[in-house]
Symmetry: C2
Subunit: 227 residues, 2 copies
DNA sequence: CTGAACCATTACAATTTTGTAATGACCCCG
DNA sequence: CGGGGTCATTACAAAATTGTAATGGTTCAG
C-alpha cells in the first residue's frame, strides 16, 4: 500500500509520514504542490492525502488535473477548519473524504483504512459510462468531465435506466413503469419534467448533449449522430 | 434461459408460453399455484412470471415462501388493473417488476429481457448481509426476513456504514463524518435520531435485534451475544 | 439515594424532493 | 400560414426527508 502525502508544513508532513509508515504503509511525501502533482501523475499510489492550502498550487487544482487525466486514485483532503468553500469544491471534484485540521492521528488512520478498503474493490460491473459521463452504481455518484454531479434519487434512477439502455429509445411507458411505480394510465408530465431536471444537471453545461428527444417515441441517451 | 409461468387462466398461459418459446426461451407452465410453487422451489429458473390471482395460493404467497427459502430468482408479477394492494405487497416482498393485465406482449418481452439481463450479472461484491438482514448495494434494496424495507438515502447510508463495519463499535464522530458532511464540532443529536429511525424500520418488528448502543462509545451492528 | 451524563423518543420546523398545472415554443401536416 | 399535437419550461403545491429541540428514562458514580 503506497500513499502520497502533499503537505507544505513540514512539521505536519513529517508527523504524518512517520505515523503512516509505522502503521505499515509505504509513504512518499511532497512538500511542494507541484512536486506532489508530478508524482501523482507519474507514480501509482493507492491513496493521496492532499493539503488544500499550498503555496504554489492548491490541493483542488491538483485534484482537478488528476480527474481530468482519469486518474481515479482515492483522495483524502486536509482542509482548514471553517473553510467550507474548499471542502465543497473538493467534494464536487471527486475527493473521497476530508479531514479538518487539526485532527487526531487515529482519526486519519481510520479514514485512510476505509478509503483503501473501498478502493481495493476492483470496480466490477459497478460503473456505467458514456462519453465523459460516468455513473458509479455502488457509490451513487455521477461525474461529467470529472466534475461531481449531485442527483436526487429519482434523477439517479432515471439516468441509470437510460444508461443501461444507451442507444435505445425509451418510450414513456417504459420509463414510467421502471422509475415510477405506475403503469401509465395517467396523463402526467412527470417524466418530461424529470428529464428536464436531469438535462439541467447532466447536459446543460457540457458538450456533447447526451439526452435526446425522439418526437412521438420517447427519450434516448446516446452520443449525437456524426455529420 | 429457463422461465416458469404460473398462470391459471389457460388462454393467457398458453399465449405467453407460445410467445416466449418463439422468442427463444425454455418455458415451463404451471396452471395451479401449488404446482408452480413446487416447481419454483425445486427447479432452477432464470425468471418467474407469477399471476397474483390464483385459485389456490396467490402469487405473493409463493413469492414470500421463495424469499424465505432464499431463492433469489427475479420475479415478474402479473396483476389485475387497479389492484394496487397486490402490487404494493408484491414489490415489498421483493418482486422485481410487475405488469398490469391486459398488456401488450411486446411489453412483457421487454420486461423479461431486462430482468434477465439484470439477473445475469452474477452478484459481485454487491451485497452485504448479517443474520436475515440483507442490503443490495447496486439496487439500493434492503430486506429483512425476506421482506422489503424502504429506506431513505440517509438511512441507507447509515446502515451501509454499519454493515460494512459489523461487529465494530462506531463512534459518533466517525458516523458524523461518513454519513453527514460534518466533522463533529456541533452538538446535535441527528445521529441518535437517525439511529432511532433506522431501528424502527430494521429492528422493530424483528428478532434478533441487530443495532446496539454502547454507552459512551457509539453504536454497533452485530448479532447479540450468546447466553 | 441522588445527580449528572447519556441516550431514547417525540413533536415540530426547515429543507429538499417530487408532482401538478399552466403557458409558450416548436414541429409537422394540411 | 394556421392549427393540432408534442415537448420545454416555469411556477407553484404537495409530500417526503432531514434536522432541531424539548422532554423523559436509564445508568452509573459518588
Amino acid at each position: 500500500m503506497k500513499l502520497l502525502i502533499v503537505e507544505d508544513e513540514s512539521k505536519i508532513g513529517d508527523y504524518l509520514r512517520q505515523g503512516l509508515a509505522e502503521a505499515g504503509f509505504v509513504v512518499d511525501l511532497a512538500r511542494k504542490g507541484l512536486d506532489g502533482h508530478h508524482l501523482a501523475m507519474t507514480e501509482d499510489y493507492n491513496l493521496l492525502i492532499l493539503d488544500v492550502m499550498l503555496p504554489d498550487i492548491d490541493g483542488w487544482e491538483i485534484l482537478k488535473s488528476l480527474r481530468e487525466a482519469d486518474r481515479n486514485v482515492p483522495v483524502l483532503f486536509l482542509t482548514a477548519r471553517d473553510n467550507i468553500d474548499d471542502r465543497v469544491k473538493g467534494l464536487e471534484l471527486g475527493a473521497d473524504d476530508y479531514l479538518v485540521k487539526p485532527f487526531a492521528f487515529a482519526e486519519l488512520l481510520a479514514r485512510v483504512r476505509t478509503l483503501l478498503r473501498r478502493g481495493a474493490a476492483p470496480a466490477g460491473e459497478t460503473t456505467l459510462a458514456i462519453a465523459d459521463l460516468e455513473l458509479d452504481l455502488m457509490r451513487r455518484r455521477v461525474t461529467r468531465a470529472g466534475q461531481r454531479i449531485q442527483l436526487t434519487a429519482k434523477e439517479f434512477a432515471l439516468l441509470e435506466l437510460m444508461m443501461r439502455h444507451k442507444g435505445e429509445v425509451l418510450p414513456r411507458s417504459l420509463i414510467a413503469s421502471q422509475v415510477w411505480d405506475m403503469n401509465f394510465d395517467s396523463d402526467t408530465n412527470v417524466i418530461d419534467v424529470a428529464i428536464r431536471r436531469l438535462r439541467a444537471k447532466v447536459d446543460e453545461n457540457f458538450q456533447p448533449k447526451l439526452i435526446h428527444t425522439l418526437r412521438g417515441m420517447g427519450y434516448m441517451l446516446d452520443l449525437p449522430e456524426e455529420g
